[in-house]
């Protein structure tokens, strides 16, 4: 007998009679959202919650975006910036730092020596202050946003902002690898006190971009 058969057999024996097919649907009486159904208020909520968990949040219009990205990288003193290959080219239009587009061969060791990374995102969740990356357009492979110490992430409002976790999941494809990010890397392991900055990027800057 294989262990698979053994375990499945133990489960069936433990449960006794096969359970009758359930007529009652599972109780899902919780709310779909706790946030206001109004784009500007939702964006404010996202802003507050991101900042509450120590992300640095900036706002600008799509016209201002290239200048703001250049400014953030210059302030940081960034010399090399990694980007996914399909980042909209105009985003880096004003950037003077050396650009490193990931063609799929960038190693973790190489990225460890890179100062910053700039990406887009799949969506952002206002209620929890979360940015979701799913390796889709403008986001790149997972290691790209993991190894460098400074991550600049662009969120396009209102179309990429959802209110809640229940509204986010249906918009995401389970087949894609996902990283949900809520503030920079942190730990509560020392006396259950939250300290920002362990292995992931220690500085997370979020640019909330609205149409001009």
């Amino acid at each position: 007998m294989t262990s698979r058969d053994l375990i499945l057999g133990r489960i069936r024996a433990a449960l006794g009679e096969p359970a009758p097919p359930e007529e009652q649907p599972l109780p899902r009486h919780y709310l779909t959202t706790h946030a206001p159904d109004e784009p500007a208020a939702l964006l404010d909520l996202l802003h507050r919650n991101l900042a509450d968990y120590r992300a640095r949040v900036h706002r600008c219009t799509d016209v201002e975006l290239p200048a703001r990205i250049a400014e953030l990288l210059a302030t940081r003193g960034t010399r090399t910036v990694a980007v996914p290959p399909d980042l909209p080219p105009d985003w880096l239009g004003a950037v003077t730092a050396e650009r490193l587009a990931d063609d799929g061969t960038l190693t973790a060791a190489r990225l460890d020596a890179v100062d910053s990374v700039v990406t887009g995102c799949a969506l952002a969740i206002a209620e929890t202050g979360t940015i979701v990356l799913d390796a889709g357009p403008g986001q790149g492979r997972r290691l790209l946003t993991l190894v460098p110490d400074h991550h600049v992430c662009v969120v396009r409002a209102p179309e990429q902002v959802v209110a809640s976790v229940p509204l986010a999941l249906p918009r995401l494809d389970p087949a894609r690898p996902q990283t949900w990010i809520s503030g920079p890397s942190a730990t509560s392991d020392i006396e259950l006190d939250r300290v920002e900055g362990v292995h992931g990027p220690r500085t997370l800057e979020v640019l909330l971009v609205t149409p001009a």
């Binding site: 262990s3 489960i11 999941l169 249906p170 392991d189």
Partner: protein, 471 residues
């Protein structure tokens, strides 16, 4: 479970030592009070918490009732997405599978994401016996590993250590495991985190094999979910070529949609955050992104025995948030080590005796490691009625027989009560020898009379008095 815990003293002896340790009590009190207030605030933000909790309970109960079906579905989904599924009936088999998978890569070291399941099976020790070094990468697990210590909390395994002790462990031990701690390291948490970042980064960058657990597995999609804070999880799940996840069979949930319940319940109950810093979700393998080889080891190791107990099986709903530890007055004073298992606190007191049985002294004592105050039930995000299971397990322990002297005394009393003439003689004898009665019981009964008075025997049995005085 792991051999580290074999031969542990029963809970009362271990707890007695722990409560005399003033430093330990101060550390625990500080940490548990900090987190319990934060949790209350995080939960109060959601007006529908009760409904989320009810849904979490219902989803888990439904899954358990159809566990065979969902595991088979999960296996199909993971396989279709490019993963390989292994089944392990017990700890030994799981350790064997992981060791063989690591050997097949020809590597001799692995990086690990914090995982209760791999602690439960003693994976690190089993791998060490095979010449494979496992590096723990969670900060608290690193503190435990470097300090040659045992975990004492589900979420924060080094909760029993304060910052000064952690500084000392890092300064003294990091060099033995790799990059030494920076010169002049202070006990500021930010500096300690920085030291861990530097120490572990070289390991992440060279690691070819990672071992993880998972918080959830989605049957319909084959997706695994790891919820974390530090980014060590992302490192382990993304950088190595081979990923091996060891997950208890009760971690499966039926649908992608079900995550909307648990990704709201878990962070607020656990670290008291709206959302934890990082959550990784992956489905099999993805070409060009992350590990090219993914193995899922489904672990039974006593879980099906828990499932067979209709009262006790609710313990399998547990999502390992540790809220019950943080509110427990017994845990706060006794600490996690007294529970003699990787699962301490109220959930450990019901899970450990069910996974391991109640034959050893520590396991038989765990159902009594509670005042039944019910605080654990109130905060449990999946509504596990821990006091109910504790009482149920106490019944089980008593059924397996108490102290031999107690059994002899009960048997003798039964015989005397069955024979009225003998009872009368015994009562008269007891009445006449009153002056000789001890104030405290001798032998094994002594502890009982430490805190209780023996009832006084009347000078004359009631039935004799009645015969003389009735009208």
């Amino acid at each position: 479970m792991t051999g580290t815990f074999l031969g542990m003293p029963a809970f009362p002896q271990a707890a007695e030592r722990a409560v005399r340790d003033g430093q330990l009590r101060a550390n625990l009190r500080h940490a548990t009070h900090t987190i319990r207030d934060k949790r209350a605030r995080a939960v109060a933000e959601l007006p529908d918490w009760a409904e989320l909790r009810a849904a979490g309970k219902a989803i888990k109960d439904h899954t358990l009732r159809h566990l065979d079906r969902y595991l088979v579905q999960l296996e199909e989904s993971v396989t279709a997405a490019g993963g390989t599924v292994h089944w392990a009936a017990d700890a030994e088999e799981a350790n064997r599978i992981v060791a063989d998978l690591v050997h097949a890569t020809a590597e001799t070291e692995v990086v690990k994401v914090k995982s209760m399941a791999t602690q439960e099976i003693g994976l690190n020790e089993a791998l060490a016996a095979e010449g494979i070094t496992a590096y723990e990468t969670d900060l608290a697990e690193l503190i435990v590993q470097l300090g040659d210590d045992r975990p004492s909390h589900i979420l924060v395994p080094a909760i029993h250590r304060n910052r000064a002790e952690i500084r000392e462990i890092f300064a003294e031990r990091m060099a033995d495991w790799g990059r030494p701690a920076p010169e002049g390291l202070t006990d500021s948490p930010a500096e300690l985190a920085e030291a861990a970042r530097l120490h572990l980064r070289e390991k992440f960058l060279r690691a070819q094999v990672a071992v993880s657990g998972a918080n959830f597995m989605v049957a319909e999609t084959g997706t695994l979910v790891v919820v974390e804070s530090e980014g060590n999880g992302r490192m382990c799940l993304t950088l190595p070529r081979t990923l091996i996840s060891v997950v208890g069979i009760e971690k499966v949930v039926p649908t992608w949609r079900d995550l909307e319940v648990f990704l709201q319940l878990l962070p607020r109950s656990s670290t008291a955050e709206r959302m934890n810093p990082y959550t990784s979700l992956w489905t099999g393998t993805t070409a060009g992104d992350g590990p090219s080889e993914f193995h899922l080891v489904l672990l039974d190791n006593g879980r099906t025995a828990v499932l067979a107990d209709q009262v006790g099986r609710q313990a399998l709903r547990c999502i390992r948030c540790s809220a019950c530890l943080n509110v427990c007055p017994v845990y706060e004073r006794a600490g996690g080590h007294a529970y003699g298992s990787v699962y301490p606190g109220p959930i450990g007191a019901i899970l450990t005796p069910q996974l391991r049985g109640t034959t050893s002294p520590v396991d038989a004592s765990l159902p009594y490691a509670s005042s039944l105050c019910g605080a654990c039930y109130d905060v449990c995000p999946v509504a596990i009625d821990i006091p109910e299971v504790l009482v149920h397990l106490r019944e089980r322990v008593t059924e397996q027989g108490g102290h031999p002297m107690e059994r002899a005394a009960i048997a003798a009393a039964g015989y005397v009560l069955d024979h009225p003439a003998l009872l009368t003689a015994a009562e008269r004898l007891a009445g006449r020898t009153r002056a000789l009665h001890p104030r405290r019981l001798p032998g094994p009964g002594r502890a009982w009379t430490d805190t209780r008075d023996l009832p006084e025997v009347p000078a004359e049995p009631f039935r004799d008095w009645w015969r003389k005085n009735r009208p």
